[in-house]
Symmetry: C2
Subunit: 192 residues, 2 copies
DNA sequence: CGCATTTTGTACTTACAAGTCAAAAATTGG
DNA sequence: CCAATTTTTGACTTGTAAGTACAAAATGCG
């Protein structure tokens, strides 16, 4: 009962995510948020409680959407190295195509809030761990299909590939041309 | 003539750099700065003009100190791959030893201000380009001494190593244990 | 010394960040 | 339709960010 909400909280989180993603946490004001969502300040605080609580929801939303995106990219058919190269290229392409060049929200959050925001730090750590595990599983799959040499340590290469992606997504924020990222991707996959 | 300054502007920039490095640009207040430097607000604005102008000086100071540090690490004797591994390990060790886990100020600045702050963006781009060039030169040196296979593209590996360092320094902000970084370094150098 | 010049400390200003609150509005169950 | 409940609107509050203003203090110079 009671008056129903005039807006979709789910869509509101989505909008908030995009603002936080573009401006970062500290530089985002409640005014930015209500403008982007299209509601009044009362509704915002009535629904979400605080800027920080909304940020946490936005970061979780980002995690969920990215987790799906990465897994989908890996699931297409083909040899492991082909899929890996295609995934990394697509990621770089998407980052560079973003007119705001926001890069990766998890990476940005790590750079801004690691150490000062417990919740955000743990969310980022989990996202990184998931990505690392996905890479590790991909390496193992490549070894089962005898496409990747068995002496490659899957755990080490999972860490390496996570590290590479984190680097790429930060570089995408300042890279002037796409070729530097492409060279990194090719050199990395070629040495696997 | 006129009254002489009661403080060392150079030391003030150093203190400001440390505050900006730890908290980021947006989260740093003028009060934080005057507290860290130990001067009054009047002196701060009389000397530096604005928070942003002081940030620019701090970022330049960071660039200068880091440029020296990296070159010094490379200049020690020994085979190229040994020096490379030692340098990367030392970098990771230093990042993890920092009680505040501030990582790299250039990386943090890229994540926070790329796209919105022209001056900061260009400074970061230059820092990255310098690092990339240093790695590229190191690869070429290794090829001249026949330690590194001539088919390795020095430019591509320069980009790759820059990307790896950027990734490592961001990972250092959220890494729970040092072994993940160590594995990345070893796997990278081993595949060279 | 007296004067021009520069720095310093502190009070002040303006604007806005983050959040609160009360009253009006919209809903459903009885 | 009434009562209870919840949302919305928008004004209001509190604190602080960023910077300004100005008088007092400290210097070198003639």
């Amino acid at each position: 009962m009671g008056r129903p909400k005039q807006f979709d909280p789910d869509a509101a989180v989505e909008h908030a995510m995009n603002v936080f993603w573009r401006k970062g946490y500290a530089a985002t004001t409640p005014q930015d948020l209500v403008d982007a969502i299209g509601i009044g300040k009362g509704s915002l605080y009535n629904t979400f409680g605080s800027k920080h609580a909304l940020f946490e929801l936005a970061l979780r939303r980002y995690r969920d959407s990215q987790a799906v995106a990465l897994i989908e990219m890996f699931e297409e058919p083909g040899p492991v190295k082909v899929r890996l190269r295609r995934t990394l290229r697509l990621l770089a392409e998407m980052d560079l195509a973003d007119p705001d060049r926001r890069g990766c929200m998890a990476v940005n959050t790590a750079a801004e809030l690691a150490g000062t925001d417990q919740v955000a730090t743990e969310l980022v750590q989990h996202m990184f761990a998931r990505t690392e595990d996905a890479f590790c599983a991909l390496i193992e799959e490549g070894q089962r299909s005898e496409e990747i040499a068995p002496e490659r340590d899957p755990a080490a290469w999972g860490s390496l590939l996570l590290n590479t992606v984190v680097g790429l997504r930060l570089m995408a924020r300042v890279a002037e041309t796409p070729d530097r990222l492409a060279r990194v991707i090719d050199a990395t996959v070629d040495s696997l």
